[in-house]
Subunit: 409 residues, 2 copies
């Protein structure tokens, strides 16, 4: 007896991800892993969380902290976030904020909100693997978003209609994107907004890494650019997804959506039907820790990760063979490598694990169409500087070995 | 500009629930509310959670507790649950356990796993409102499950095929169900299993209240009955949804699914795409608190709620006018009232709030077809004994008033 035959049609698209399988390698102590996307736990404000949790579970607060709460989220946290969003140039209030269990859940619920089967989602080539996974559950088509405006709205519209639906949204992460580390210019952001206006679709702005800028001037969020045009968040089509996972703690699973109330009102219903609410205690603790020194903590994180990024870029310069190129991110957690045409990241990974005990994520996983095989994602937030130096040295040997015919794909 | 026109077709079925609106009334101190479904916060093991959280955030544990973790869930918690399930007569191991963010999320993910539009879900008339909400997102048809076996599998199958799909599962809560408080007999459980065998569909057993039995002999879970028939959980079609919300804390949002690996393996993928994982710290704390005195805590809870149930049943005897009947639950948190035909719970609620400041949930919300208007759900876990006495006295006045023509529907 197997229940497989009863599964919904969407399940055929839900496949085990390479990232997931790779995370299992992290437990092997002799592997240097650039495969994760995880923060350095040494930087978690653990003492602040311990104090906040203790208070939330004492002195008459415990009844509220352990009880059911509203689907929108804990009001003081929503107010802190609204204030944070105003600091980014987006005038809004707590009614424009929905708390989610990490920004991954925001992507799931936004897929659920917008996508009927055969609708089109515009995504980058490559894009965040977890966004493809979240959206796939709603059986959309994917088309390739290009911030340089090389394709017309009519072209996108015709493609979507040929697939039997319409373009519902453009999804992108404009700052230090996972997986590429690339930041979009203001002009590119304006291009995306204009495309969305022409297509009359939503924009989903994934800002998971936005606070982690190590150099250069911040570029306004897409939602801030749209707000500047329209003067009213209720008139904006951009939906901003934020997260505390890269700044305070990923394990507590707290993120948010900032958008027009017409979107938030529906997300509340999806949240209620989905898991009732994000854990109360986690929201109480995040609200307290965020309210006490968020900016100082971000500054410390940026110093910490900036050093690791510099080490990785310097090591790549020293150890990569000719024909390999890479991005130079101004923030975030990732560097994206492009290999000579014909090389295959997945084959390389097998080889790298076997011969040099070094791991990364092959690039094809980040492409909706499975292309991009000659690329890979390297994480620099999790390994320490010594591991970065040693790991990139090993990776250089693997690539030189393969470039000279030591391993064929 | 409104994004409403872009929403997926499913969104037209996601409507604000009466329970949600009613919860807002709880903040008004002069309203006695039987409308909630929430535990008494005085019974939360807050000190145990405080100790567990403190340990989880100290002495080298903090890095793990605040970090990303696996989508299946925290292994020690999954092992504790597998042991708990073995105690219920279901031989399984941790690979048969998926941690969810409350059992509400289990219902959402199981809807996502099984339901394509036009598939049929069998549910009780009435059934848990949150199950209808969760399943509605996947655009199914609902048909009426009857544990007495009055309809043949062929009849259900023909109805489902006429709707353009097939019966994917029967959903039910066999112990002290929300909203009725009714417990299914062993024979009724066997009937459901036989129907599922004949229909070749899954059974979703919602066990949210199962631990809260105040009298009578426990009846084996449906999954235990199926396990007894088949001798192997991998051969079972029943999917058991458990929760710590009614026993330890609802605000921490920790529940589980116990099922064959073919189901768990897919739920892991849905969990990964949905929100990556249930918060790590919450799982660590629940695992510790559950491991230290779960049974004693349940015994204390049962004494506490049993007293409230007794008070409510005694008060109903004294204050209800003729023509009103109600269930006598052996456990759980709810009593279900049936009013004389022609009376309308929704109209009564308006009247009750205005004239007597007492609240309950009108019954129609629990019916997939909106019938059952002459019924209401009363919660006895949240109000204290004095409030129960006073609130039922008030409700009696409302009902007598309406029965004698003081309010017409």
């Amino acid at each position: 007896m197997s229940l497989d035959q009863f599964f919904a049609t969407r399940i055929s698209r839900m496949i085990a991800s390479e990232i997931r399988e790779l995370l299992k390698l992290l437990d092997q102590p002799d592997v240097i892993s650039f495969a994760g996307g995880i923060p350095d736990p040494a930087m978690f404000p653990a003492a602040a969380f311990r104090d906040a949790m203790t208070r939330a579970l004492s002195d008459g607060q415990q009844a509220q902290s352990l009880q059911y709460s509203t689907s929108e989220g804990y009001p003081p946290l929503r107010r802190w976030i609204a204030d944070h969003m105003r600091g980014l140039g987006i005038d809004c209030d707590e009614d424009n904020i929905q708390i989610t269990s990490g920004s991954q859940q925001a992507l799931d619920y936004l897929g659920k909100l917008f996508l009927s089967p055969c609708d089109t989602a515009l995504v980058g080539w490559p894009t965040y693997l977890g966004a493809l996974g979240a959206f796939n559950a709603y059986e959309p088509e994917f088309d390739r978003l290009d911030p340089n405006g090389n394709r017309s709205a009519n072209d996108f519209r015709a493609q979507a209609e040929a697939k039997g639906g319409r373009v519902k949204f453009a999804y992108l992460s404009p700052d230090f994107a996972n997986p590429t580390g690339v930041t979009l210019t203001r002009t590119e952001r304006e291009n995306i907004l204009q495309l969305a206006e022409d297509l009359d679709c939503a924009v989903i702005e994934d800002a998971a890494y936005q606070s982690l800028r190590y150099e250069g001037e911040p570029v306004p969020p897409i939602l801030a650019l749209e707000y500047a045009r329209k003067g009213d968040i209720e008139a904006c089509r951009t939906i901003y997804c934020g997260s505390f996972s890269k700044t305070l703690s990923p394990g507590l699973r707290v993120g948010w959506v900032c958008a027009a109330r017409s979107v938030i009102d529906r997300l509340v219903l999806l949240k209620q039907a989905g898991d009732l609410h994000t854990p109360t205690l986690n929201q109480v603790a995040i609200a307290e820790v965020a309210a006490n020194g968020f900016d100082d903590h971000i500054a410390a994180l940026c110093r910490h990760y900036s050093h690791r990024r510099d080490r990785m870029l310097a090591a790549l310069e020293r150890h990569m063979p000719p024909g390999v190129s890479w991005t130079r991110p101004e923030g975030g957690m990732f560097v994206w490598l492009t290999l000579p045409k014909g090389m295959d990241g997945a084959d390389l990974l097998q080889h790298a694990l076997k011969t040099e005990r070094v791991a990364f994520v092959p690039g094809a996983a980040f492409y909706a169409d499975g292309s991009g095989r000659n690329s890979m994602r390297l994480n620099f937030s999790s390994p320490d500087p010594m591991q970065i130096e040693e790991g990139i040295t090993r990776l250089g040997r693997v690539l030189r070995d393969c470039s000279t015919g030591g391993q064929s794909s």
